[in-house]
């Protein structure tokens, strides 16, 4: 049997289980431990989680097949499986690194020194951070559509309170809007799950890949689930909730929300389109998805350019960067004949998700420091920030390079792969969008840098840059750049276990 569609347990299959259960256990233990205990527990779990993610990647790469674990030894369809393929391992690594960096950064704000009473923000932050971590890991390794529903809800329930952690009225409003979008999204997804179970008697993605046919129930289910997931991923025109929610959160929370939380539902869309129904090419629908993505790239970037506030600029940039993720859809469906183009589009999409995660987390963390140091985040008044906070500005610039797609950076590699794949597939119009988006991104990044590098009116002299936090942000930005130096062969990892190859490509 093809290793991609095998659900036999594999030797290292326990690693993805631990990747999910350790943060979840941490979240459960956080409550009785209290804020200080939760913080210390988080820092104890971070290296372990990172090692597990690295181990999962190594084991997947070495065996060339996904890691599989059958929970309680029960095989699907009756039981549940965890399956870590190349995409999952890439996201596990990304999550471990972003969560780790965010935790290091957040210590200054949410730390509880010994002997001080527990604060609401502190207990909430650490336990919610662990919850996001467990939920995102679950969303990428679970192989059952209902388990994935629970993962989506965990992600939402953790993200919503993070967005309004400061308790101000504006952020509470933003969080409520976000919650309603997210709940609508997951209930539509769940409706699709019900129809798929009714049609095929299983919710396991690998089994569905082999059973799904182009029946009415499948089409309706896919449409409902896609719509629901897009609302959670904030693809234009369902993006309105994102900028206020992400911009109003504390910097550390914004970083996690923009870098990781929206990626969870994105991975599910990919699983649905290229996992559950790889045999059902829907070229028209894929074109629509990419068209929405293209609109998000152009309109989101333009909106970012129009913002007067730095945090909102970064949030609108997320709306635009999410658009790129959806360009892979028509390139994967159009290119069923050409396996090479499909592989390139797939890697491009995954790399975009990963490099944006690092770049955007870096950007939010840097912008958070700037806003705190300067006491405001008005772009027009950033003069002098370059001298006062050089590391932050460097971080912003480097992350900006990756978002623009300037070589050499992870963002460049991602956009280059998508662009060449589009040209090869004869869909040159997406290439134009990628180039146009890059230009717009360059303009809004330049706009910030240009003001920040001016002299300003001199009242920034007293501003000190918190070096430790700034280095954490810079490290993330560097990582998003360094991804571009990896030889393309290293990306073979993300190809492992692709179900569309195993099913759709078969004669």
């Amino acid at each position: 049997m093809n290793s991609a569609v095998s659900l036999a347990p594999t030797p290292w299959g326990l690693l993805p289980v631990l990747a999910v259960m350790l943060p979840v256990a941490g979240m459960v233990a956080a409550l009785p431990l209290g804020a200080r205990g939760a913080e210390r527990l988080t820092f104890a779990l971070l290296p372990v989680g990172l090692l597990i993610a690295i181990g999962t990647a190594a084991a997947t790469y070495a065996s060339g097949a996904p890691l599989v674990h059958l929970l309680g030894h029960w095989a699907p369809p009756l039981g549940l499986a965890f399956r870590a393929d190349g995409l999952a391992t890439a996201m596990l690594l990304t999550a471990a690194i972003v969560i780790g960096a965010t935790a290091l950064y957040a210590r200054a704000e949410f730390g509880t020194p010994p002997g001080t009473p527990e604060r609401r923000e502190a207990l909430s932050f650490w336990s919610l951070l662990l919850a996001v971590w467990g939920a995102i890991n679950l969303a990428v390794v679970a192989d059952d559509l209902f388990t994935l529903y629970v993962a989506l809800e965990l992600l939402t329930f953790a993200a919503m309170p993070l967005a309004c952690l400061d308790g101000k009225r504006e952020t509470l409003e933003a969080a409520l809007r976000y919650l309603m979008f997210a709940l609508l999204g997951s209930v539509l997804y769940l409706l699709g799950v019900a129809l798929l179970y009714g049609a095929y008697g299983t919710l396991d993605i690998v089994l569905l890949a082999q059973r799904a046919r182009a029946a009415p129930a499948t089409v309706v289910a896919a449409a409902l689930m896609t719509a629901g997931l897009l609302a959670k991923t904030a693809l234009l025109p369902l993006h309105l909730w994102l900028p206020p929610a992400h911009a109003g959160a504390p910097a550390a929370a914004s970083a996690v929300l923009s870098a990781l939380v929206v990626k969870g539902s994105f991975v599910l869309v990919v699983r649905l389109w290229f996992g559950v129904m790889p045999g059902l090419p829907a070229p028209a629908a894929a074109q629509v998805l990419a068209a929405l993505g293209a609109a998000a790239i152009i309109l989101g970037s333009a909106a970012a350019l129009a913002q007067a506030r730095l945090k909102l600029l970064v949030a609108y940039s997320t709306v635009a960067q999410i658009g790129y993720l959806f360009l892979m859809f028509p390139l994967m469906t159009a290119a069923i004949a050409s396996a090479e183009d499909a592989a390139r589009a797939w890697t491009g999409g995954v790399l975009q998700a990963v490099s944006h995660a690092f770049a955007k987390a870096a950007m939010f963390l840097a912008v958070g420091l700037m806003a705190k140091g300067l006491g405001h985040d008005r772009i027009a008044d950033l003069g002098g920030a370059g001298r006062a906070m050089p590391l932050c500005l460097l971080t912003f610039g480097l992350a900006g390079l990756s978002l623009m797609g300037v070589p050499p950076s992870g963002g460049f590699a991602a956009k280059w792969l998508l662009l060449t794949s589009a040209i090869e597939a004869g869909q040159w119009w997406w290439a134009l969008v990628i180039l146009g988006g890059g230009l717009l991104t360059g303009t809004y990044v330049y706009r910030v840098l240009a003001v920040a590098l001016t002299q300003g009116n001199g009242d920034t002299a007293a501003v000190a840059e918190p070096k430790g936090q700034a280095w954490v942000a810079l490290a993330l930005a560097l990582l998003s750049v360094v991804l571009g130096f990896l030889p393309l062969g290293a990306f073979g990892l993300v190809q492992i276990g692709r179900l569309d190859l195993a099913i759709g490509g078969a004669p």
Partner: protein, 313 residues
């Protein structure tokens, strides 16, 4: 024939109550319609042969959600929030058409489902003896798909953390929710004194029979939570402060124990959530009881809400 007639009547009533809920002028009326909707839905579940769900629907959707929403409606009436903008008549009609199209598409998909229907009923029954349970739904929840149950318990813990994180300034560590003055007379006072002992017995019964008959931890937890809430509303029981280590342990203990037993499965049987055959029954009972207790506490706390500032009148 009478069966079909009953189904049609129940269906029509549910539809009418749903329509009443979305068109009601006041939040109170809407909530009242919604509670009736939940109770009738429980009846529909009985008709669908799912008594487990009927119990849960009545206890959680109609009972606890109803209590939560009624409380919210009364507090919002005193202190309203800026509303979202209502769409104009044209847009409203357009949205209506879209919603009707969604209903039609889902209805069409349901009518097109294959015959005979795919089902895991046979498989679930075939392995039931391994799970040491007599109720196949409990088998799914505790064994075949135990992971979902574990994660759901984690969702409930997370929801408590999320609700507490909404505590306003000055309230952290205090008693959760508004304080209710002690009521000595009237129907609520009577109910709050009479019902809890009966409710606790019923809850234990439901929990105990859940392994072989409809019932189980969720239903038992919802009833226990409702009893605590009743006493709370009548001012007979003040919940512990949220800084209380014991309260926090009570919330986390069930999920924590389930996680630990899951890991024990790794050591003993080589798979997460695998139960050693000799211990299956004992471990499952332990999880059922611990989860029922923890979920009961968590559900009640979700209805009570975050602690409020201490300096209030």
């Amino acid at each position: 024939m009478t069966g079909l007639l009953a189904d049609l009547l129940i269906g029509a009533a549910i539809l009418a109550l749903a329509a009443g809920t979305v068109t009601a002028r006041s939040a109170f009326t809407a909530t009242a319609f919604f509670i009736a909707y939940g109770l009738l839905l429980a009846l529909a579940w009985v008709r669908l042969g799912a008594v487990d769900i009927a119990l849960t629907e009545a206890a959680i959707s109609a009972g606890l959600s109803g209590l939560l929403l009624l409380g919210a409606a009364s507090r919002l009436a005193a202190c309203p929030v800026a509303e979202e903008r209502a769409p104009g008549p044209v847009l409203k009609a357009l949205i209506g058409l879209c919603c009707a199209a969604v209903s039609a598409a889902v209805g069409y998909a349901i009518l097109s489902l294959p015959e005979p229907a795919p089902s895991l009923a046979e498989e679930a029954m075939a392995h039931l003896s391994v799970t040491a349970l007599g109720n196949p739904v409990a088998g799914v929840l505790m064994s075949y798909r135990a992971l979902d149950t574990l994660l759901e318990a984690a969702v409930v813990v997370l929801a408590v953390i999320g609700v507490w994180s909404l505590a306003p300034a000055g309230g952290w560590g205090g008693v959760p929710g508004p304080i209710h003055p002690r009521i000595e007379q009237g129907p609520l006072a009577l109910l709050a004194r009479l019902l809890p002992p009966i409710g606790i017995v019923v809850a234990f019964h439901i929990l105990w029979v859940g392994s072989y008959a409809p019932g189980g931890k969720f239903q038992a937890a919802a009833i226990l939570a409702a009893m605590w809430l009743l006493a709370w509303l009548a001012g007979l029981a003040t919940p512990p402060r949220i800084s209380s280590r014991r309260l926090r342990l009570a919330i986390s203990a069930g999920t924590g124990l389930f996680l630990a037993i899951g890991m024990f499965g790794v050591l003993a049987e080589g798979a997460f959530l695998a139960y050693p055959p000799a211990l299956t029954k004992a471990l499952m009972l332990a999880v059922e009881f611990a989860l029922a207790g923890s979920i009961a506490v968590a559900l009640a706390l979700l209805v009570m809400g975050p602690p409020e500032p201490e300096d209030r009148a």
